[in-house]
């Protein structure tokens, strides 16, 4: 467990009768950049809140930096920096005052980082927070998180309200900062391109459940779409065959693993394989979400959760 910056098992959260998070499992290796992908309302923020002790899980366990969130809330917070979804900070304080405020809480605070990022991100340090633009507000939040000298950075939708240039800046800073000090970066997003740019690992959540979790490279290496023509070709869904679409005698498969050999098998059994190609993350995400919606509306059985075992 201590090789994981974040380890979650069977985590469940209910708001009244609404099940926001359902038996979620997450494995975030230390020192990695992990993109937590999901649509709005999929459960990303609820999960993050539970990791930080802002809300309590209904059941399941969660460990951050090797410590149980139930018992070690303060030690975790001492070593974890957080940028929340709503970028609200005390409105009447200036960024400089916010730095002064935050500084005292963290023995690992890095004054040099404050200078560096204030300059790099061009933050007006003397202006009251409420008067800053949305983009600058997010940057201030990020500055406070980066200067904390934390081992783990948890960011909930950090690029909201940022223009493309600022998004790029933010991603670069996260990528570089992570590598610098071996910091683990865990960020949630519904923007796939941002995750693709810097994440090594990706976890997809929909309807509070984990759709898949894998190294991003493995996802691109392993997932394949295969189109084939033939009659009576296999139609079963499995952990390997994510989906099958049939139109007359044309079949379209989305395969999670060993796509090439699956295509070979099809060909061996008389099918004509017309196309085998890698899938972009966007397509995989849409495919999995679509499948999850079908599953939860009662059409198919349990969604097999896909995970890549190697870290």
């Amino acid at each position: 467990m201590s090789e994981l910056a974040i380890g979650v098992s069977g985590l469940t959260k209910m708001y009244g009768r609404l099940l926001a998070v359902k038996g979620l499992n997450l494995n975030v290796p230390r020192g990695s950049i992990y993109g937590f992908l999901g649509r709005n309302g999929a459960g990303k923020t609820s999960t993050i809140k539970m990791l930080l002790g802002l809300t309590r899980p209904a059941s399941g366990s969660a460990h951050v930096l090797g410590m149980d969130v139930h018992t070690s809330r303060l030690p975790i917070l001492r070593r974890t920096a957080f940028v929340s979804e709503k970028k609200n900070l005390p409105p009447s304080l200036t960024p400089a005052e916010l730095v002064r405020f935050s500084r005292g809480f963290y023995p690992t605070w890095l004054d040099k980082a404050v200078e560096k990022y204030a300059r790099l991100l061009e933050i007006p340090m003397g202006q009251r927070f409420e008067r800053l633009s949305n983009g600058n507000q997010t940057k201030v939040f990020l500055l406070l998180a980066l200067a904390q000298g934390a081992e783990l950075l948890i960011l909930d939708e950090p690029t909201t309200a940022l223009d493309p240039v600022s998004v790029d800046q933010l991603l670069r800073v996260l990528a570089a900062d992570g590598a610098d000090r071996g910091t683990t970066v865990f960020f949630s997003s519904h923007q796939l391109e941002e995750v693709e740019q810097i994440a090594e690992h990706v976890g997809m959540i929909e309807g509070g459940r984990l759709l898949m979790e894998s190294r991003l490279d493995d996802v691109k290496n392993d997932f394949r779409v295969i189109t084939a023509a033939g009659s009576d070709l296999p139609r079963e869904i499995s952990s390997q065959v994510l989906s099958v679409e049939v139109k007359e005698n044309f079949y379209r498969y989305v395969i999670a693993k060993d796509g090439e050999s699956y295509a070979r098998d099809l060909a061996r059994n008389g099918a004509t394989v017309t196309h085998v190609a890698a899938l972009r993350l966007r397509e995989i995400f849409l495919e999995l979400v679509r499948k999850e919606k079908l599953c939860t509306s009662g059409n198919a059985g349990e969604t097999p959760v896909l995970s890549s075992s190697s870290f």
């Binding site: 990695s32 950049i33 790029d168 991603l171 670069r172 990528a175 570089a176 992570g178 590598a179 796939l192 391109e193 693709e196 740019q197 810097i198 994440a199 090594e200 991003l216 490279d217 691109k220 290496n221 190609a277 890698a278 899938l279 972009r280 993350l281 966007r282």
Partner: protein, 128 residues
């Protein structure tokens, strides 16, 4: 050496970098003992995760394409043939298949397809 990667492609970023390095070497743009940018520099230039660049360099080193000097610096290697001929041929096979399939689809003859391949080899030969 200038790189360009597309994070949204179906091809992993590290593979894209590998490919570009190999292409550059094959075309003579990168010569033996020429230095490659450091992992941090390249990652910073491209705005990507340094671990991704590191992986690309690892794979290239494993294939004997580049070598890291202890103390710093990554250089184009002597291209010691660490791979067996059978492995090399296996690696080339998908590209050959692609060429063959495309050619047949377009209705070209075997001679025309082979001529195309010859052309490309000659181009590389000139630059070597």
């Amino acid at each position: 050496m200038m790189f360009h990667v597309n994070p949204s492609s179906g091809v992993p970023i590290y593979v894209q970098i590998e490919t570009q390095v190999k292409n550059a070497i094959a075309a003579g743009a990168l010569k033996r003992d020429q230095a490659l940018p450091s992992v941090r520099k390249l990652a910073s230039d491209l705005g990507i995760n340094p671990n991704t660049v590191a992986r690309a360099y690892q794979e290239l080193e494993r294939d004997g394409v580049i070598a890291t000097v202890p103390g710093g610096g990554t250089y184009v290697a002597e291209n010691v043939p660490r791979l067996l001929k059978s492995e090399k041929l296996r690696r080339l096979q998908p590209y050959a298949k692609q060429l063959a399939v495309e050619g047949v689809q377009l209705g070209l003859t075997d001679e025309e397809i082979l001529w195309m391949l010859q052309e490309e080899l000659e181009k590389l030969g000139v630059h070597k």
